[in-house]
Symmetry: C2
Subunit: 147 residues, 2 copies
């Protein structure tokens, strides 16, 4: 799992180099990375431009399908409700995230979009993978902003 | 409110004419419709292509800002977690929806993404506006699919 999380971290660092909150994601199917994304909210001025949303959109285009069954998403921060909902809508099977997000995380920390059977799909998730690296990147970004 | 919900219904009918689940949305700011959207999931084969997401993306482009403070969204069906999360991320101030969605609605029916203070924003919502028209359109669509 660390291999793919490192790839998600590479994406997060791209966001950092563009002065965006450093969050990155990759989507993997059958062991192959099929899509990548990093947070572009400020540069695109689009409220939807989270790493996961960008990656899901690319993956749908690549597979020419809105159904990403069997795919896994690796993301450096616990998804927000929008992104967790998008992951469920895309029928992604597994979510691996790095840092926990107590304020707005939707894989159980604040909301429980994933574990609930209301949506026509269930996914498994694993949190805290390479947590320190993922978390430090974001913390240092905010520290540099305040400093 | 019926005026704008009728506009959202017009969008839903566009979806219907393209054999999509008939859901439509409009975003209003200062009394002016600034963006419209209708469900395009099947025709675009994109899991993100819900009416609200399309409308929010257009509104951000139009205002050149990810912040849609003061805007209102009118949508024919209670938003799912993805769309409710997107509405919160875009700082939309008010949500007016038509039909309730007991299975996956995120304005209180199944999830409570809007009423919760976890996100850096609060919005007000009103459900059940022109409920019968909005609901019938969707029910008849599914009935025709089964029939």
């Amino acid at each position: 799992m660390d291999f793919y999380m490192n790839k998600a971290l590479e994406q997060a660092k791209k966001a950092l180099s563009r002065d965006e909150v450093p969050i990155g994601a990759v989507i993997v199917k059958d062991g192959v990375i099929i899509a990548r994304g990093y947070n572009k909210r400020e540069s695109s001025q689009n409220a939807l431009a989270h790493a996961e949303i960008i990656a899901i959109s690319k993956a749908c285009k690549k597979l020419k399908s809105w159904r990403l069954d069997g795919a896994e998403i690796y993301v450096t921060l616990e998804p927000c409700p929008m992104c967790a909902g998008a992951i469920m809508n895309a029928r992604i099977s597994k979510i691996v995230f790095g840092a926990y997000e107590p304020k707005s995380g939707a894989c159980g920390s604040k909301f429980d979009v994933i574990g609930d059977s209301g949506l026509n799909h269930n996914a498994v998730f694993i949190g805290g993978v390479m947590e320190e690296e993922c978390s430090l990147l974001i913390k240092n970004y905010f520290k540099s902003k305040r400093g």
